[in-house]
Symmetry: D2
Subunit: 140 residues, 4 copies
Amino acid sequence: MDVVMDAEAMNAFLATEFPQVNGQFRVDHVGEEGVTARLLVNDSHLRPGGTISGPSMFALADVSIYCVVLSRIGKVALAVTTNASIDFLRKPVAGKDLLAKCRLLKLGRALAVADALIYSEGSDDPVARCSMTYSIPPKR
Amino acid sequence: MDVVMDAEAMNAFLATEFPQVNGQFRVDHVGEEGVTARLLVNDSHLRPGGTISGPSMFALADVSIYCVVLSRIGKVALAVTTNASIDFLRKPVAGKDLLAKCRLLKLGRALAVADALIYSEGSDDPVARCSMTYSIPPKR
Amino acid sequence: MDVVMDAEAMNAFLATEFPQVNGQFRVDHVGEEGVTARLLVNDSHLRPGGTISGPSMFALADVSIYCVVLSRIGKVALAVTTNASIDFLRKPVAGKDLLAKCRLLKLGRALAVADALIYSEGSDDPVARCSMTYSIPPKR
Amino acid sequence: MDVVMDAEAMNAFLATEFPQVNGQFRVDHVGEEGVTARLLVNDSHLRPGGTISGPSMFALADVSIYCVVLSRIGKVALAVTTNASIDFLRKPVAGKDLLAKCRLLKLGRALAVADALIYSEGSDDPVARCSMTYSIPPKR
C-alpha cells in the first residue's frame, strides 16, 4: 500500500489533533519501510536515577505506530490502540532524545499491527521494543 | 508475604520519589488482596473524542503494580518494569477518575509479576487490563 | 450476555471441531463468571526437569478463552486468536493436571478479550497468566 | 557477544534435550544477525479451515528464541521462558513449512529478550510476530 502522508503532513496533523502533546514528539521520517519518530526529551519525562519513564517510552511507541498506520490510510483521528506489549531493555543514554523506528506488519480492513524499536539517539542498542494493534473504524 | 507499607506510607513515598507525577496519582487502598490506585484525571490526560490517553492508563497501571510490589518488599526505588502488556477495552466514562485494581501474581527473588484491571470510577466494566513484570535489584 | 452453551455442549463441540487435540482438554465448568478448562497432562506435554511445556500451557489458555467466548456467542468455529500475552510464573506441580480459570473482559462486535490464570490442580499459586484477543467473524 | 553454537550443534542439542518435539523443528541457520528455525508442518499442526494452530506457531517462536539465546551462551537446558507476546497476522499458506526469523535484542546477566517474525516458506508477508523473555540461571 502506498505512502499517502509524508513527515511534514504528519507533524501538521499531530499538532492539530493532539495539542496536549505538542512539542513532545516529532516525526523525523516516513517511508516505505516505516516511520521514525522522536521524543524531544525534557525533565518531565525523567524518573529517579535519570532514566526516562516507561509511560514516556510507551507514548513514543504509540505515536510512531499511529503514524505508520496513518501514512498508509490517511488522516483517521479515531483509530484506537487495542493492545500493546512493551519490553524495556536498557537504561536510555542521559541527555539524548529517543528515536522510535517503526514498521507496519499488517494492515487489514479492521486491524493494523506494527512494532517499533526505541533507541537513544546515536546508539545502536535498543532501549525498548514495542508492538501494538490498532482498530481502524469501518467505512474509512 | 506480609504487607509492609500502607496507603499513607505509599503516597508519602511516591510524593518524595516521583515528584514529576505528584498530584496525578493516589493510592486509595493497600491490602492482602492487592492495591487500588487512582488517576486524578485532568485535561492533560485527555485525547480527541474525550477519551483518556493510552499512556495515562499505562502510567496508572505502572504506579499500581509498582505499589503492590513495594507493599510487600518495602521501599525499593530502583525496581524497574521489564515488560508490560495492556489491552484497551472500552472508552472511559467522561469526567470520572480511573481506578486500577491490582493483584500480585508472583513475588520471586528477582522478578515480580502483577496484573490490574482499570475502571472508570462507579463503573463495573473494565476500560483496560494490564500485566507487568518488575525486576527487583539484588540484595534487597 | 447470557451463557448459551454449557460444559457438555462445549466438550461435544471441541471433539467435533478439533479432533487433533481430542482427549487433551476438557471443559470442567461454564458459568456467568467464566470457564474452567483442564489439560489432561501426559508425557507429550513434559519438558526437561519435569515441567510442562510453554506451548501446552498456551494451548490450554487458548482453549479456555475460546470456550468463554463461545459460551456467550454460540458455535463460531472460525473465531481466531489475534493476540496473546502470557507470563510463566512457577513450575507446575509434577503429576497434576492443569486448570485454566478464565474470565471474559470484553465481548464487542468484532473483538473479544479474556484472561486466564492457570493452576496445578489442588494448588492456589498460579503457574501462568494469559490474556488473549479473539477476532469474531462478521454477521454471526 | 560471539556465536558459540552453529546450526548443526543446535539441532544435535535439541534432539538430545527435547526428544518430545524431535522431528517437528529444525534450525536452518545461526548467524550474527540471529537464528532461522523451521516448523516441519504436518497434520498434527493443522486446525479447522486448514490453518496452523496457534500453539504450533508459539512453539516455533519458542524454539527459535531459545536457540538464539543458546547460540550466544552455549548449552543451558534450564533457561526458561518467563513472558511471551504473540500477534497472529495472517493465515499461513497451505502446505508450506513455517520459518521463524529471530533476532536477539538483549542478553543480560539474568534476562534475555528476543523477537521473531514467522513466515510461510516462500512468502514475504509475516503470519505472526512474537517476542519473548528468557530467564537465565545464575552462575552459567
